[in-house]
C-alpha cells in the first residue's frame, strides 16, 4: 500500500511508513475477511500463545507494558493480575463503546480488522482463565456489528472460537453484544450494568473494581478494543520486539485521531512517547499543519474530557506521564485542533453541552451542575450573560471537582500547570470532565467571555426577551421541552436552572 495516502475503504485512516502493530491490514479492501486475515499472519499469535502456558502469556503482556488504550492508560498485564485467585468464573468484557468526543479508532479496528480483535480477546482469555467474552459494541455502529457478527460466525466455524480451540483444552465463547446510545456506558462499571440489562449507571468504586467484583458479581476484566488488538502481534513477536517501539514507559504504537482545522485530518498509528503533538500536527507525513491563512489557537489533547492545550505545548510527547504533568491527559488518543477562527465560548459550550446531555443523573453535583454550566454558557453566548457568571461557573465546577482543577500552564500570565487528574465529589469522572473546557477556556480566554458579557444587546436583536440563538438557528423550538425534561431528569414544573442559579 502506498504511504501517506488516504485509504478510501478505511475512511480517515492515513497510511505512513511508521511501524504498524494494529493497522497493518487497513490497506486491503477485504481486510475484514478470514481469508485475508489468514493470508497476512492471522491467528498466528493465538497459535504462539497456545504453545505456551497461560502464565507465560500473562507474563509477556506484563513485560511488554501494554498500556490500556481506553483512556486511563493502566497496564493491561497488571490489571489482569487483580483477579482474586480462587473465584470462578471470570469474564472478559470488551469496551467497544467509543463515544468520547474526538475519538475515532476502535470503530476502524472493528470494521476493518474484526478477526484481529477476536484473536486478541482469545489471547486475553487464555492468559488468565476467562471463560466467556462479551464484545460490547456501541449501538450506533451498524457496520462494525455486521462485520463482527460475520467474523465471529466464520471464526467459530473454522475452530478458532468455541469448544476446544485448535484442538486444545482451551474453550471460550465470544458473544457479540451491542448498546443503544449512551456515552456513560463507556465507563467500565456502567458497561457492566448495561450488560446485565440495566440502566447504564456507574457503580461506586472503590471498594470493588470490576477485576474483583464485576459482571454478575464475578471477576471481570474490561479492556478497550485497541488494547486487545495489540495482543496478536505481541504474542507472535514477543515483548522485546514490542518494546523496540515507543518510549521506555510507553512502549508500542498508538492510534491517534486528529480532527478539526488541520490540512490533513486523519487517524494515524504512531510510536507512543517518541512522537510529539508537533510532529503529528505539523509533520509532512501526518497532518501537514494548520489550514492556510490561520494559526493554531488551542487543541484538545485527549478527547472531550481533557483540559485544553495551547500553541506553546505542542512539543509535548504523546505519552501519559508528561501530558498529565502538563495539566491534561492523553486520554483516548483524540486530538481536536482549533484555529484562530474558533470562538472559545462557543467551543466551551459545545463540549459542556455534551456532558450535560450525557450525565446519567445518578449524582447531584453532576446532574445539576452540568446543566447549570450549559445554561450559563448559553446565556453568555447569547449576549445575556452577567458579570458574576464567570465566578459562578467556576463555583459550580468546584462543587463537582473541588480544589485546583487540572489546567495547562500559561506563560504569558505567569501561571503554572495544575497536574492531572481532578478530584471528584461524584461517582464517576464524567461530571468532573465537564469542568475541563470551562477552566481551560476561562483561564486563557477570559477576555472573550467578558467581551460577550459587556456587549449584551446588539442593535436590539438581543435582550432578555429575544429568542435565544439556539431558537433562531432553529436548533430547538421555543416550545420544545428542555432536554432535561425530555430525559426525565427534571419535572416540567421544576424551577429552571437559570432561576435557581440566579437566586
Amino acid at each position: 500500500m502506498a504511504t501517506g495516502e488516504y485509504v478510501p475503504h478505511a475512511p480517515g485512516y492515513v497510511d505512513t511508513d511508521d511501524p504498524k502493530i494494529v493497522t497493518s491490514r487497513f490497506g486491503y479492501e477485504d481486510s475484514y475477511t478470514l481469508d485475508r486475515y489468514l493470508a497476512t499472519g492471522g491467528y498466528e499469535g493465538l497459535k504462539a500463545a497456545l504453545g505456551r502456558t497461560s502464565e507465560a502469556c500473562h507474563n509477556i503482556t506484563r513485560e511488554a507494558t501494554v498500556l490500556g488504550r481506553g483512556g486511563a492508560g493502566f497496564p493491561a498485564g497488571i490489571k489482569w493480575g487483580f483477579c482474586p485467585p480462587d473465584v470462578w468464573p471470570r469474564y472478559l468484557v470488551v469496551n467497544g463503546d467509543e463515544s468520547e468526543p474526538g475519538t475515532y479508532k476502535d470503530r476502524l479496528l472493528m470494521e476493518r480488522d474484526p478477526h484481529q480483535l477476536i484473536e486478541g480477546c482469545l489471547i486475553a482469555c487464555y492468559s488468565i482463565g476467562l471463560t466467556q467474552c462479551f464484545l460490547y459494541v456501541r449501538g450506533e455502529m451498524a457496520v462494525a456489528q455486521q462485520r463482527l457478527a460475520d467474523a465471529l460466525n466464520e471464526a467459530y466455524e473454522a475452530g478458532y472460537v468455541g469448544k476446544n480451540i485448535l484442538g486444545t483444552d482451551f474453550s471460550v465463547d465470544i458473544v457479540l453484544h451491542w448498546g443503544a446510545g449512551a456515552y456513560i456506558v463507556g465507563e467500565e462499571t456502567a458497561l457492566i450494568e448495561s450488560l446485565e440489562g440495566n440502566r447504564g449507571m456507574p457503580r461506586l468504586k472503590p471498594p470493588f473494581f470490576p477485576a474483583a467484583v464485576g459482571l454478575y458479581g464475578q471477576p471481570t476484566i474490561v479492556n478497550n478494543v485497541e488494547t486487545l488488538a495489540n495482543l496478536p502481534w505481541l504474542m507472535s513477536n514477543g515483548a522485546e520486539a514490542y518494546k523496540q517501539y515507543g518510549s521506555e514507559t510507553s512502549p508500542g504504537t498508538r492510534m491517534f485521531a486528529v480532527s478539526g482545522h488541520v490540512k490533513r485530518p486523519g487517524v494515524y498509528e504512531v510510536e507512543q512517547g517518541v512522537t510529539t503533538y508537533e510532529d503529528l500536527l505539523y509533520g509532512d507525513k501526518y497532518c501537514q499543519g494548520i489550514r492556510d491563512g490561520h494559526e493554531l489557537k488551542m487543541f484538545i489533547p485527549g478527547g472531550g474530557s481533557a483540559p485544553w492545550l495551547f500553541p506553546e505545548h505542542v512539543s509535548l510527547p504523546l505519552e501519559a506521564r508528561p501530558v498529565g504533568a502538563a495539566g491534561t491527559m492523553l486520554g483516548s488518543g483524540a486530538i481536536v485542533v482549533m484555529d484562530d477562527s474558533t470562538d472559545a465560548v462557543k467551543a466551551c459550550l459545545r463540549v459542556v453541552r455534551f456532558f450535560a446531555r450525557e450525565s446519567c443523573g445518578k449524582c447531584a453535583p453532576c446532574r445539576e451542575g452540568t446543566s447549570w454550566e450549559e445554561k450559563i454558557l448559553q446565556r453568555i453566548l447569547d449576549g445575556n450573560g452577567r458579570p458574576e457568571d464567570l465566578d459562578l461557573l467556576l463555583d459550580i465546577g468546584d462543587n463537582i471537582s473541588p480544589g485546583p482543577y487540572p489546567v495547562a500552564s500559561d506563560e504569558s500570565q505567569g501561571l503554572e500547570a495544575v497536574p492531572f487528574p481532578p478530584r471528584q465529589t461524584t461517582i464517576c469522572p464524567l461530571g468532573p470532565s465537564s469542568v475541563a473546557p470551562i477552566v481551560s477556556a476561562l483561564r486563557r480566554f477570559r477576555h472573550e467571555f467578558e467581551a460577550k458579557i459587556a456587549t449584551p444587546v446588539e442593535l436590539g436583536l438581543r435582550g432578555p426577551n429575544a429568542p435565544s440563538e439556539a431558537e433562531e438557528t432553529g436548533l430547538r423550538g421555543p416550545n420544545a421541552p428542555s432536554e432535561a425534561e425530555e430525559t426525565g431528569l427534571r419535572g416540567p414544573n421544576a424551577p429552571s436552572e437559570a432561576e435557581e442559579v440566579a437566586s
Binding site: 497459535k47 482463565g129 448498546g179 446510545g181 448495561s194 481536536v336 474558533t342
Partner: protein, 217 residues
C-alpha cells in the same frame, strides 16, 4: 399486536441463550422489537418482560435510558447529524441548518410523508471526516450541502445512496430499527457452553494443564 412475531420469538430465545443470565439479553431484544416495528411498543416491552423473566416496568426502565430506543413511530430513515466539537468547527451546524430547511423539520421531528426523522447528535466516531452524519446508523462522511441533497434524493428514489457506507457495497439502507444485517449464530457443536455463574466453581482446565496443541487443527 406488537408482540414479537413467531420468527422473532425464536430469535429471542437464541439470543437469551447466549447469556449466563437472561436479563443481559434485554438490550439486544429491545433492538429486535424495534427492528420488527420501527419503534418499541408497550406490548413488545411486556412480551420481552415475559421472555427474560422481569417486570414490564424493569424493561421500560432500561429502555428509556438509551437514546436509540424510540417510544413513538419515527421516519423510515433516521438522519443523525453530529454537531459535536470536531464537526462543529468544520460546519456541522450549517449542515444541520440546511437539513432543517430542506426537510422542513427540527431535530426530533419527522417529515409528513414519514420518510425522515432528523436528530442533532453527539460524536459518532468519525471526527476526522467532518461534517458527518448517519442514516439508520450508516455513515455519510465529509458531506457538502449538495451531497446532502443528493443523498436525500437517492434515499427517496432508490432506498440507498453512494454517499452512505454499508458493510457490503451496494447494500440497501434498511428501514429504521435494523442495525447490522447479519447476526451471530452459536451452534450446539461449536459453543464452549454458556452456563450461569453459580454453576462454575473451578478454574478452567487450560490454566492447570500444560498446553498440548494437536497437528492439523
Amino acid at each position: 399486536m406488537s408482540r414479537l412475531n413467531e420468527a422473532n420469538v425464536a430469535l429471542a430465545h437464541e439470543i437469551i441463550a447466549r447469556y449466563p443470565k437472561p436479563k443481559s439479553a434485554l438490550i439486544p431484544l429491545l433492538h429486535l422489537a424495534q427492528e420488527q416495528d420501527g419503534w418499541v411498543t408497550d406490548e413488545a416491552m411486556a412480551h420481552l418482560a415475559e421472555l427474560v423473566g422481569v417486570t414490564p416496568a424493569e424493561v421500560k426502565g432500561t429502555c428509556t435510558f438509551y437514546e436509540m430506543f424510540k417510544l413513538h413511530p419515527t421516519g423510515r430513515y433516521m438522519v443523525n447529524i453530529c454537531t459535536n466539537i470536531a464537526c462543529q468547527v468544520l460546519g456541522a451546524e450549517d449542515l444541520l441548518h440546511h437539513a432543517e430547511e430542506t426537510l422542513g423539520i427540527r431535530p426530533g421531528g419527522t417529515t409528513d410523508d414519514g420518510m425522515f426523522t432528523l436528530e442533532d447528535v453527539e460524536c459518532i466516531a468519525a471526527c476526522t471526516e467532518a461534517p458527518c452524519l448517519q442514516v439508520n446508523y450508516r455513515f455519510g462522511l465529509r458531506l457538502s450541502i449538495d451531497d446532502f441533497d443528493e443523498m436525500i434524493a437517492d434515499l427517496r428514489e432508490r432506498g440507498r445512496s453512494d454517499h452512505l457506507i454499508t458493510a457490503n457495497p451496494g447494500e440497501p439502507i434498511p428501514s429504521h430499527g435494523t442495525l447490522g444485517l447479519s447476526r451471530q449464530h452459536l451452534t450446539e457443536e461449536r459453543t464452549a457452553g454458556i452456563v450461569a455463574p453459580e454453576l462454575v466453581t473451578e478454574a478452567p482446565v487450560w490454566l492447570t494443564f500444560e498446553p498440548k496443541q494437536e497437528e492439523g487443527a
